[in-house]
Amino acid sequence: MSAEENMRIVRRAYTEVFDRHNLAVVDELYAADFVYHSPGNPDLDREGLKQGFAAYLAAFPDARMTIEDIFAAEDRVAVRFTCHGIHQREYMGIPPSGKQVTMTAILIHRFAGGKWVEDWEWSDRLGVMQQLGVVKLPQ
């Protein structure tokens, strides 16, 4: 698969998951042995990723995801996105706050043999916790 095709697959996954809340697309597009790495958290498999998406979409049902940047070379796709949503249900143990939350993330997606096999993700979680009023940074 070309870098262009990989990029199309990534765009499609983001659209289906965030805009249409279609989590079935995860099984379709991600490899069965897919691994998701995010610092400070245990690695996730495909099912774990799906549960993570479901938890986020349940808490922020009106979330709007914007791909700010996407580019690809060889077997890698790099993405920078922002997500805006109102915190309407419990999220990571935090009761619904009704607050508008913006999250920024950078991801690297790896493809192998025509399959989406590995992600490295880091998002501004501290910023999310600050916006939810759970964490205050020293001035």
Partner: protein, 130 residues
């Protein structure tokens, strides 16, 4: 537009230069690879004024503040057109425990001509090395 080879070389060279921890080396390197009005976006570093000089001050502060700060070789390097993505990690000695710790970083750079005009960086938490 920057060549793929130059963009790659810049990343690898930058890491060597950072590890000198010497602002008399890092400063001129920034003059060489950053545009004067380069913007650095990092949600963990709010209120940083735009421009190369404030990036120098910020980085200089890291070397003063963080004991045994070290840039590890990139784990992943993606270059396409005027964009570069890097997955890498930095290490330090935790001042509280004395443990060696590592933080994972995802970085995107945008070139304008042959200099970097904009940087986005997300920095993971410090974690004890296994």
């Amino acid at each position: 537009m920057v060549s793929e080879q130059k963009a790659r070389d810049d990343v690898l060279r930058a890491f060597e230069i950072y590890n000198t921890k010497d602002m008399s080396v890092i400063g001129p390197w920034y003059d060489e690879i950053l545009t004067p009005d380069c913007i650095y976006h990092n949600p963990g570093v709010r209120d940083l004024a735009s421009g190369r000089e404030s990036i120098k001050q910020f980085v200089g502060g890291l070397y003063k503040r963080i004991p045994n700060f070290h840039h590890n070789a990139p784990d992943d390097l993606i270059v396409q057109g005027d964009k570069v993505a890097v997955r890498y990690s930095v290490s330090r000695t935790d001042p509280a425990s004395g443990n060696r710790q590592t933080s994972m970083i995802l970085l995107i750079e945008r070139y304008a001509g042959d200099k970097i005009a904009e940087i986005w960086e997300l920095v993971g938490p410090w974690q004890d090395d296994a």
